[in-house]
Structure formats: C-alpha cells, structure tokens
Amino acid sequence: MSNVVDIQHKEQSPPLPTNHETLLEVKDLKTYYPVKGGFFRRTVGHVKAVDGVSFTLKKGETLGLVGESGCGKSTAGRTILKLLKPTGGSIVFNGEDITKIRGGRLRERRKDFQMVFQDPYASLNPMQMVGDIVSEPIKNYYPRKKAKEIKQEVMELLNRVGLPDDAYYKYAHEFSGGQRQRIGIARALALKPKLIIADEPVSALDVSVQSQVLNLLNELQDDFNLTYLFIAHDLSVVKHMSDKIGIMYLGHIVEIADKKSIYEEPLHPYTQALISAVPEPNPKKKKERIVLEGDVPSPENPPSGCPFHTRCPVAVDKCSTIKPELKEVKPGRQVACILVD
Amino acid sequence: ACSNGEDEAGAAEDDKKETEGNEGGEKAAQEGGTIVYALDAAPEGLFHWNWYGIQTDAEVLGLFDDNLITFDEELKPQPNIASWETEDNKVFTFKFQEGVKWHNGDELTVHDWVFSLETLAHPDYEGPRYTNVQTVEGAEAFRNGEADSISGLEVINDYEIKITFDKARVNNLLNLWTYPMNRKAFEGIEVADMEGSDPVRRTPIGTGPFKVNKVVSGESVELVANEDYWQGKPKLDKIIIKVVDSTAVTGALQNGDIDVVSVHPTIGKDVEAMENVDLVTAPGLSYYYVGFKLGKFDNEKKEVVEQKEKYADKKLRQAMMHSINREEWIEAFFGGYGDVVNRPVPTAHWIAADNDDLNTYPYDPEKAKEILDEAGYVDTNDDGFREDPNGDEFVVNFSHYATGNPTFESRAKALTQYWEEVGLKSTLEMIEVNQYYDMVEKDNENMEAFFGGWGYGADPDPSGLWKSDQLWNYPRWVNEESDQLLEDALDVEIVGTDEAKRKELYVKWQQIVNEELPMLFITELQEIYGMNKRVGGLTLDVSGFNSAHEWFVTE
C-alpha cells in the first residue's frame, strides 16, 4: 500500500488541474465524548458533539462549515483528521477508508491531511523555535533528508506565508496573532498535503489581520492545489472562502449547499435565522431580522426529534418527535427539515 | 549554689553537708506553702504500687503512699508503719502502728495488707509483682484457685499478722510485698479491672503525707496535705507535680517555676551555679558497665551452651579495663556526678566490698599494653593495631544503645578511643534501644562487647544477673565458684540471720567478679536533684527522699 502512496506523491508534484474527483467522503460521522462522574469516574453519559454528519468534498474545492459555538465543528474537523476517535460512521479519504486505521499506517496517511488551528497562541509550542516548528513534520516523514535541505525548504515556506527570514530563529511569543497563524499555516503546508482543515483560523484575529490571512489561504489554495474544509462561525467569512457551505446545529448538518443558494435562498429555518442575524455594514439597508429565542441546548441531552425545534420559529408538533434526515431537495442542496420539500 | 566564684569548692562542700544533715532548723519554715515537683518524663498514671511500672510513677507514689517498712542508708530494712519479728526467717510477725489513716478516713489495718497480697496472688492479676507473694505459703494454691485464701497469712488482730513463707530464706522479708491496699476504694472492682480503675488512675489514695487531689493525665498531679498523717501534719499545703521537658528543666529551675527536680548529671554543674538553687545528691543504685559476650545461652535449657573465644582471655579484659580513664570519662560525660566502681554492687549497699579488697584497675595505658603484650596481642603487621595471639586481625566491635540522646554516641566513642590508644582497633555501633536489648538478650552474633546498665534494689541478692542459669546473665559468664557463693549466701543453713556472714560471702563473690571481669565496671551514678533554695527539710539518701511531711518552704 505504501508504495502506491509514494508513487502518488511523486506524481502529484506538478500542480494538477482541478478536476471534480472526490477527495473526502464523510458518512454519518458520530463523535461522542464520554461524561465521567461519580467517585469511580465511570462514564455516566455522552456529549454528542457530532451526531451524524455526512458530506463529500471534491478535490480543489472548499467546504465551509458554520454553526454556533459548541455545535461540534471542531470536533468534526478533528475526527476527520483522526485526531479523535470516531464513535460511528466512516471517513473515506482519497478512496481509502481511514476510519479504522491506526498507528504507523495512520501516521503515514497524516501527511496528506493537515490542520490549521483556531488559537494562534495555544497551537504553537512556546518552547520551540519557529524553524523547528515548521521543520518538525518534514523531519518526521523524511528522516534522511539533509538538514540543509530541510532548512532551505522551511525558509521558502516561511517566505511564502509572508514571514521574514529571521523568523526561523525566533520563538512564537515574539510574533503577533496574525503572524503566528502564518506559522501554523506554514507548518500545515510543510508536508504538501492534499486536504487542509482550517478550524476557525481567523476568529482570534482582528478584522484588519483577518483579511491578510484569508487572502493568504486563498492564494495558497491555488498555488498548492489544496482542498479546504473551512470551519468558522462567521457567515460572511465562510461565504467569502467557500464553494459550498454546511450549516451545523447541535452536532448535525442541517443544510448544505453552494454558497449562492445558501445566501440567496436559505431553506432551513435555522439557516434563515442565521443569515438574517448577521449585521451588515450598510446603515441604509433595513433588514428584517429573525430573532431566535433562547440558546443552543446542551449536546449532553439534546432535544428529541429535530434538534432545532426548541428555538424554531416555525416548528410544528411533529418536529419534536420526528428526526429529520438530510435529504436532497434540489440538485446539490440538502436540507434536514420536515417542513422543506 | 554560691554567690562568689572564688569560694566555689568550699561552698559546694557546705551544700553537701547542709543537704545531707539538714533537719530544717537552719531555714525559717513558713506555715503551709506549695512546692512544684517536676518530672522530666510523663508518668504513666498507674498510681498504685501494685501496678506502677516506671520510676516517674514511683516518684509520685512515694509522696502520697507509705511503705510498711523503709530502708536505711545501707538499704537495710527498717520498721515504718509495721515492725516485725522473726526467729527462723520463715515465720514473721508484723505489728502495725495503730491509728494510721487512709486518705479516705479508713484506718489502716492488716486486712488491707492481706487484701493487697491476695490481689497480687489473684489469677487475674496481670502486673509483674506476683513474685513478691509467691514465696508466701499457700500463694501458689491460691493463684491456682485451689484455695480461697492464702494460708500463710494469718491475721492475729487488726494490727498484727503472722506470715509464713514456704521455706526459710535469707531474703524472705525483702522479697515480700509491703504495700497495703485500701479495701473500700477497690470494693466491687474485679481484680482484672483494677489496673484501669479510678483508684489506680484518677483518684488514688494512700496513707502518705499528701493526698492526691487531682490528676491531669500525662501532665500534672496536685497533692494536698494530709492533715491526719500518722507522722504528723505536713508543713506544706500542697505539692504540684508537673511534667517538664528536659529542655526546659534548667530554665524552669532558674525562673523558680519548679522547686524540686531530678537533674541529669550533664546539667548538674549548671544547676549548681544557679543562685537560687541547691543541688542535692545521694549515692545512686545503678551502675554502667561494658559487657563481653563470653558464650551463648539457651533459654529452654537454662544454661550457657556455647563458649565464645574472642574475649575469653581474662588478661585482655583486664587490659581493656586498665586502658579506660574512668575518672576522666565520668567527669566528661556525667559532669563528675558519678564514681568509679569496681564491682557489680553499688558502694552504698551494705554488702558492697571495700575497694581495698578489690583490684581497682587504675587508668594505666602502659600497664594495659604490657598485659596485652604478655597475652600475645601484639602488632605483627605494623598497621598500628594489635593482632590477636594467632596473628589474625583483632577488632573490638563495641555496641551501644541509641535513643535520641546525642551524648550516648560520644561517650561510647570515647571508650573505643581509649582502647585504640593501647593498640586495640575498635568500632562502634549505635543500635536503637529497643532492638539493642533484644539483641543482647538473644546473644545476637553482632553483639560482642556491649554497653549496659543495671539498677540495684534493696535486696542484695545478685543471682538474677549473675548465676550461669539466668537469662539476664548477659555476659554468659560461667563460674562455678561464683554460682556456689551466690547460692550459699541465700542459704539459711549457712548464713542464718547473720548479716556479717552473708556479707562475707558476697565480698568473696565480688572479689571473683572483680578479678575475672566478665564485664568492665565503669561507674555508679549519683542521684542528683535540683532544689530551689526556698525549699527546706528535704533530705536525700540512697533509699530516696525523707518523708515529705517534713518538707517546707521558707518565706
């Protein structure tokens, strides 16, 4: 198996034109966190952080995942990268089912999918020099590569993400948030992965810096022929970045469609509310806001039936009993709501 | 003890006289008053003679409960509450003083004594004192439940009793338990429960000059004067007995917080130097020695079953004795409050042999070396230390017990240094005290030369420590002549009631021990008490304090 991968790696080197081949397919993914309790620290329940998420991602495409805090976006991202153990469902990456693989084989796969993390402060080891941070993945996979070559490569990478040369010998704490996020991006790029999952890469950044990072990510996508799973809670950012958008609520994807349709014609009541809630920097435009009642329920004991029915302005009785499936209502549009047909 | 330093020697002498011969006339006694009597270890709180276990408890007991007989300065028994007569050392008639009252108002009669003796002989009695009635006729039978009473106890009237022993012995009287028990106080208490009962622990009563008023467990006891004391009303109102940590003793003495306290020899000098405190000394009854393991004892067979060669040569032991500068050692580690001793009997005891009749083993390293050379212990390999006569390495492996006391180590170390000076290589091992005696008793292989101490009672008979069939003959010394002499000295047939004859045998025995030196006798310690100058009427001799009713305080 590993031979095949090696060959692929060589073949992949020149940028391939974007085709519509499926890179990632996630089916009914579930990730539960055990809740420990009592004196003997037994598992007394589960936080159903991700509870049945399915989507496919084509090569070169960007899928945006939005949702409120705690709805399971990060969990989903981490599970797909196998940083967490999935409770159920399957993840097929590049034609290979990676749901169950472990150990060395998993490590071998890891170089094809990488992550950019949310917190630019916590995601860089404060005890390492930037050079070491970025070269570590290369050293992990190409232990025989010469130090000089690695250094050369890392320097190029740092330059590519817009960091000065001397950054190599600095430590993370000497950089601003945006620069740190660049370091994190350089680290993710070091192995020339096919897929990058960006978990709220700009939510900790200031608006002015945010645009720098977003632009960088966009440039890199073209340069390196990357596929993104872009996670954010800011709808406008997601819309800017993505081709397709998935709306998450309480561990479920409630609607998934291309960004135009989502923005122009949201079908799920939650999507509608979400979009209407985004304040727009246009004082003249008067928007009709749908203000939702209450907060997101706890994923430890989610409501029965449709998870959104407790806050849904158009909910009917059935909503509390029937759990809606994500189904295709129009070509390329999937919605999980019994009221939408 | 004196105000100007020049006259120190003289003044110290004066003190001694004063404390020894003090009858209270010199100081102006005050009516009443309180003294604080300090103990440097907590009493266990077993305030009855029949159950007490440690010296501290005895110190308290001595203040509020009288013995039927007392002992003089030579430790010979003297009548106190009771006087006695005997013809054959088998049957004794005791006569009680009339009108002696218990603290609860009861009159003391011979029935109280019988009660006490029967308690000791009772099968449920768990204390260690059954041996003190065992020799009374019928005690065995009583203990085994075969008799309702001890047949040897024959009450003549309330104040007279005849006691018959199972056989005539020289030391029957000394062995007999002479502490009565108040019957009323113990009424209704089973013998098995007596030990923990109130009359023993919380509300003890006696016949002594002071009554126990209050006991604060582990810390203090309050005694108040017994107005009806049979020897006269005490001069003091109160004695407070208080436990004081040894660290605090000098400070407390100096500040006048405590009036009387037993002081350790090492601080004797400091106490002596205090202006407000007198130092009272009396000859002690214990001695320290260096023992040698000469054999191995079998406790089942009750005999020494194996001889050990290492210290078998008497000359070696004598040379080691000569090499110790005992005067210097005592001065250094006991502040001089001890005397060189050459025999296993304290000097104050009436059977003690005169030093003129014994070898005195003066400090003489040259002589020691000579003896060693003679005995074949010479340095053959020029390492500076002597080898044994076979030319093998010879090391004195000396053991000493360790408590928390730092002086133990240095005093033991000093002994080894003396030996090294005459060319005997020595090592020192400090062993935790509980384990130490276990090892000594079981003849542990690591025990070769060991430090120890014995206390001496009124009974002069040393058999328990010296006869070859005794577990506590720690040196495992076997000497037929010695065994014989010890037996003879107890034999009524031989000595009868003739004390001189008895002493003669003991002197002979001491000469043998002194010559053979199964242990090196080092020192006998003095009893020293610090006493605030305001306290008067208190005297101390080998048998302890005088009766506390004579004590007083000055203005």
């Binding site: 040369d165 704490h173 000497e174 | 100096q254 090492t266 935790e432």
Partner: protein
Amino acid sequence: MAEVINDTSITKIKVQKSLSPWAVARRKFLRNKLAMVSLFFLMTVSILSFLAPYITTADITRVNIGSMSLTPSSEHWFGTDKSGRDVFTRLLYGGRVSLLVGISCTLLIITFGTLIGALAGFFGGIVDALLMRFTDFILNFPLLVFVIVLNAVFFGKLGGVPVLIAVISVLGWGGVARLVRSKILSEKENEYILAAISIGSRPAKVIMKHLLPNVLSTIIVQATLTFAAMIVVESGLSYLGFGVPAETPSWGNMLAASREPDVLQNMPWIWIPPALTLVITILSINFIGEGIKDALNPKSLR
C-alpha cells in the same frame, strides 16, 4: 539583548537568533538580586560542605575529652560541642549529610513523581486510573508519621542515611505525581499537542519534545520546594531522633543538642550555627524557587 551571531555555512547570512524561553528565563533569573544572593549562599554552603574533607582534616567522629564545650576561638571558630568536636567542622559535614539527603530525596521524588504523573496524564484511561489509585494510596500515609514508624522498623537492620532517603522518597512522591499529571492534562489540552500528533510525531516524541519541556518549569519550581521541604523533614526527624543516625553529623542532629537544657541556655554556639545555617539555607532555596518561578512565568515571557 544579547546577540548570538550565527554564521554557519548553511545560511551564510548573519542571523540574529532569538533567545529561547529558557534563555529569557535565565536572564530574568540572573537579574533577580535576591535570588542571586540566595544562590550564591546556597552554592557556598554546598561547596564548602561537599569539600569538607579537603577543608578540614579533623576527625569528626573523634571525641576530645580535653576540649569539650569550648567557646568560639581562633582555633575553633564556632567553638566545640559537648564531645569536644569542632562545631564548624561538624557544620560542614552536617551540611553534607543534610544537603545530600535533601538532594537525593528531591531527585528521587521528582523523578518518580514525574514519571508516574506523566504516564498517567499522557495515556489516561486505565493506566491513569491505576496509577492514580496507587498515588492516592501512597498519599494517605502522612509523611512524618510513617517515616517515624518506618525508621523505627529499619534502623539498625540496614541503618543510616540510605534507608532514610529511601523511606522519605517512597512516601513523598505522591504530591509531585498528582501535580505533574494535572499539569500534563492541562498542557495536553493545548492545540500544539494536537498539532504535533497531526504532523505525525510519535507519542514518545510528543512527550519528550512537546509535553515535558512545557511542564518542566512546574517541575523545576516544585523541585525547589521539595528540596527545602526535604531538608526540613530530615532535620526535623533527626531532631526527634528518628532521622540520620546519631553518630552521623547532620544539621538536625546538631540541633538536637539543643534538647539538652544546658546546651540550649548556656552553649548557644553549639546550636545557633546549625539553626541559622538551616534557616538561611531554606530561605535561600525558597527565594531561588520564587526567582525561578518568576523567571519562568509565561506571562512575563511575552
């Protein structure tokens, strides 16, 4: 900022290397006057103590009956004790034992505690549960009480300092294990650990390169605290007579002399030097610990 010029053949350009967090901490520490004075004192005491055999030739065990309890003089700087032994010499030798016990216990406790804590924290699950139950078990033995009891058991049989060290260490590591575990657990939450896994680092590497360096500061600070505590424990036990055997000089044993009233009141030169040395040593260690803590404080790293 101290500039480190790096002109290796690889880059051929002069690059200004940044100070590593450790270097920053070191610099901050070196600037802390109190900590530096303390460090100087501690070093002096340690060096003097460990070089004691070369500094004085006196036989520390020898009892000198002729020169007992002498007041300080030019010959005996701190006087002599009741056995005629030179107090200064004994102070040095005592420091050897006290510091040795302190250091050995600290090393053992820290090593063992860290090991257990790191394993439990990193692997979690059943490993964690078992190790932590065990730690709880050990923690249930009050140190002082059990050292006293255990000492009573072992002394004489094996005897001396090694046993004391072993006993203290066996009973002492629980707290460190707990601390390290909780620190590892919280450090594990940091995304850089996830990042390390996602870039394919092996668990051993993750522990060694990412986790440990980040908990090391906690461990170092804990080590200084432990060191001070262990010296106190040793001296306290020796003072009570349950520590280092009486014949071995240690600060606690020397202080135990103050239990004798005449020494306490009239011969302060016997016990004041060890008391002061002990107190100042502990103070120094505490100050050094504070200094390290400050220096390693990540808040001031930025």
